[in-house]
């Protein structure tokens, strides 16, 4: 089996209208820039996107939103994204806001074959909704469900031809869990090496979770808030 594809265009083949996608990244950190650009160049629409944020105006997922390719977002934080807010308030975009830790755990559970679990987050708030609640150890918890996606699209620092991935610094964030939760997982990496070159003790995402991999190009890695000292 050849996991290696040539570029983002090849990697996203099979993504169809109405599908559910997971997209890695926190803010603009660790987002799959190449695949996002490639998706914007298609006419795919009606997507449900699971991503902690939605990029910013015209950057990252923001581009997909602007082109109205997204039907529903499942996120913890919209951030500085005016188009997102506009579509949400107008009702064009369906939005499910999920506490960040619950979102992370739901994705982790999905990938690990756990259909449901209990967390304290959201109890007594509008997040609870009509979810089942139950007391454990004297504390109320909400039952949350595992999440999977038709495609998970992640961004890593280094990858090998067996699909193993290593993330850099805080660019890991949601990528690692999402890689395991995609029915098909696409990984774009800054550096693709032959199997055997990465330290097997230092792999974040084992290759079993990755179906397609390619070395990305032209990473912009925009920063939302450049803060410096001295």
């Amino acid at each position: 089996m050849r996991k290696v594809v040539n570029n983002a265009q090849e990697a996203i083949v099979g993504i169809k209208d109405g599908m559910t996608l997971m997209l890695g990244g926190f803010g603009l950190c660790g987002i799959p820039e190449n695949c996002l650009d490639a998706l914007v160049d298609t006419e795919v629409k009606g997507l449900t996107c699971i991503s902690n944020n939605a990029g910013i105006d015209n950057v990252g997922l923001g581009k997909l939103l602007r082109k109205s390719q997204v039907k529903k977002m499942m996120s913890s934080y919209i951030g500085e994204n005016k188009e997102f807010e506009r579509q949400m308030f107008s009702g064009e975009l369906e939005v499910e806001l999920i506490p960040q830790g619950t979102l992370a755990e739901r994705i982790r559970a999905g990938g690990a074959g756990i259909p449901a679990f209990f967390v304290p987050a959201g109890y007594g708030t509008e997040v609870q909704g009509d979810k089942e609640v139950r007391e454990f150890n004297g504390k109320m918890h909400v039952m949350e469900m595992g999440l999977r996606a038709d495609f998970a699209i992640v961004k890593a620092w280094k990858g090998d031809t067996a699909g193993n991935l290593i993330y850099r610094h805080t660019a890991n964030n949601f990528n690692n869990m999402m890689a395991a939760a995609g029915i098909i997982t696409i990984a774009e990496v800054e550096e693709l090496v032959p199997a055997g070159e990465l330290d097997p003790n230092c792999i974040h995402t084992p290759g079993i979770f990755v179906q397609r991999i390619f070395q990305g190009v032209d990473y912009k890695k925009q920063i939302e808030f450049v803060t410096t000292s001295e």
């Binding site: 926190f26 934080y77 619950t102 959201g122 007594g124 509008e126 850099r168 690692n176 920063i223």
Partner: protein
Amino acid sequence: MSLDKNGIAKRIAQELQDGYYVNLGIGIPTLVANYIPEGMEVTLHSENGLLGIGPFPKKENVDADLINAGKQTVTYIDGASFFDSAESFGMIRGGHVDLTVLGAFEVSETGDISSWKVPGKLVKGMGGAMDLVAAAKNIIVAMQHTDRDGNSKLLKKCTLPLTGVKCVKKIVTDLAVLEVTGDAFKLLERAPGVTVEEIKKATEGTLIIEGEIPEMNI
């Protein structure tokens, strides 16, 4: 005289203990990092996947792969580690983070907190706030005692959508330090020069005042 933001941060820093792992929210809480007592080992947790946040980088060291939960560029200290978001919230949910400091719009006398949504105005999402307040071992709220119009933010009952229920343990405002007893705010300290009367006036929820209330020592 009421405290400014740095004063509030300075007072909260007195709650730190050697060896603590601490999560600081956006705004005033972030400033607490500037007042960690010399020689005390406090490790800062960033819920996007970093334990051991360092100071902001020098201009030439800015790294897009190294940000905090507020999406600001940061650095990391010796002994730091990086991990994914599930592990990061496992640290919070599992009670491994010793102290969480965060801002709020409102706190109720039962310890409920509203901090993420103003219907029709501000609906940016809760981020990690609901996870933090529901699961952190110890939560201190850092905020102004009243809003811009002078309305109390320490209420009998929150008016805005909740972030969590019965979770706030302590509040440090520009006027006072208060403990949340479960059904009231217990006044612990006054800001320098602020009177008990002023605090009474600025507090809508039930306020417990026992004996002489000392001034903060900052």
